[in-house]
Symmetry: C2
DNA sequence: CCTATATATGAATATATGTTCACGTGTGAA
DNA sequence: TTCACACGTGAACATATATTCATATATAGG
């Protein structure tokens, strides 16, 4: 009975390399956290939100106009960013003003923006 | 006939703010490019790949062992990273060695890693 | 109290995407 | 040539997630 498994067990490649690398990888917990952070920026809609709020505080309604999408959709995305601690809000009567709560995020955006520009001219 | 639309047209909030912000947002093209970049890192699996290849060149088979997933799945993810120009490969007989083709990417990883560590201790 | 407005949110739906499965290609060895 | 292995890939499937829709909450004004 040949148990041909998916990950070829009869390895001929460098197994010490595998050990060396595995030891140095981030833990699952840490990886998940990093992925979650990147996931927050993995959508044009949310990048727009971060860009907009990095310029100035905005209420949900104005923000939805900026984004060109419904108030509901905007609100859902804001909740996501809120739970990640990327934005904060303040209530003023009926209106709810959102602003950035994480300076590093817009730096990440800038880094990728410039990186992509460089790459395009290659 | 009241045409109560989704995005409230009878705005009472700052409309000059909207203009100001809209003018300064990145273009759709640029936004899509940025999102694509972040999307590449928005998965623990791919972060692992980047981390691993930043340590040393690895063949697909060894990499799949490192990742703890099938060769096929690994190959699919590598294709994605290849198309984004994040990794390169070289063939040696049957074996195919992959390595990082973008230094900036691991810097992004480091940035987010440290950022999350700081945040956790808050 | 009644109405209108700003926002939040659960459920449903549509779409994107990661993984598996089956198979094809290319290479080295017997 | 025949076989085994490393890798790539299309299709199917499963899951995640963005948006819409309907509705709830809260607040201001009349």
């Amino acid at each position: 009975m040949k148990k041909q498994k998916d990950t070829c067990e009869t390895r001929l490649t460098d197994s010490s390399a595998v050990e060396h690398v595995v030891e140095r990888l981030s833990g699952e917990r840490e990886l998940a956290g990093m992925a979650e952070m990147f996931k927050a920026l993995a959508e044009p809609t949310r990048i727009k939100i971060i860009e907009a709020l990095s310029l100035r505080e905005l209420c949900v309604c104005d923000l939805s106009v900026v984004l060109g999408m419904s108030q509901s959709a905007t609100s859902h995305q804001l909740r996501l960013l809120r739970h990640l601690g990327l934005v904060r809000f303040r209530k003023a009567g009926k209106v709810c003003y959102y602003s950035l709560d994480d300076d590093h995020v817009s730096e990440l955006l800038s880094a990728v923006r410039e990186h992509n520009l460089h790459k395009r001219e290659k």
